[in-house]
Amino acid sequence: MAISVDPPEVSRDLCRKAGYTFTVLSDPNAVVIRRYHLLHAGGGPDGHDIARPAEFLVDSSGMVRWVNFTEDVRVRARADEMLAAAKSLR
């Protein structure tokens, strides 16, 4: 599942265009993003507060089992990396 500051309409548009079927949640005021210490203040267009890219693999007990914080917005976790991390859990 994915989280951004985008309102639900924008995420709906993205899912429709990209064909995403996973859950995409909206955090327009960056409340959860702040709680997770992932706020990139003024990082968005027009100086909006947005989330920095970050990926967490959380097991069913709510514990982080794998994490990725990129240092370069141009370099993100790839789908195969994330799937490999998920498969390595049991």
Partner: protein, 155 residues
């Protein structure tokens, strides 16, 4: 003025321009999700620096010797364009890395805080709900887990 010397002056500026162009084009590669992209990020910076060195050498040769006027114009124009390209490449590299370190973010072995947010249909969805779903259905994700992806947004 021997021809060899003229060619050499242009050579450095042309190499500098080419490197500057490649440094900028490196950024196009990021639209493809491939392993080793972090290396491309550094390559772009390295190429920019090397391009600057070549441009400097080329200009030094062009203006340091009594060469034909046309060559100086060409060298200057090429250098100016290349300088803009190098500037763009360096700016892209710095702005791409201008991000908070997020030292307080959840780390491996820590529990993540629960939350409830609206999905694309404006329905509230909680992490606990998704975790419960994952625990009951291993087809959603292997190993009964949930992948949390925080992203900058769609624009």
């Amino acid at each position: 003025m021997p021809d060899a010397s003229k060619n050499r002056e242009n050579w450095a500026v042309w190499v500098g321009s080419l490197l500057a162009l490649v440094a900028v084009l490196c950024n196009v590669v990021f639209f493809v999700s491939l392993p080793g992209l972090w290396a491309i990020a550094w390559l772009s910076m390295l190429l920019s620096v090397v391009a600057l060195i070549f441009l400097g050498l080329g200009l030094k040769h062009a203006f340091g010797r009594p060469v034909v006027y046309r060559r100086k114009i060409l060298s200057s124009v090429l250098s100016l364009v290349s300088l803009l390209l190098v500037g763009a490449a360096i700016f892209a590299s710095f702005s791409a890395r201008a991000m908070p370190t997020s030292a307080g973010a959840p780390q491996i072995g820590q529990s993540v805080p629960d939350f409830t947010l609206a999905d694309t249909n404006d329905q509230p969805v909680s992490l606990a709900q998704l975790l419960a779903q994952a625990a009951n259905d291993s087809k959603v994700m292997p190993a009964k887990s949930v992948l949390l992806i925080f992203y900058r947004g769609y624009w």
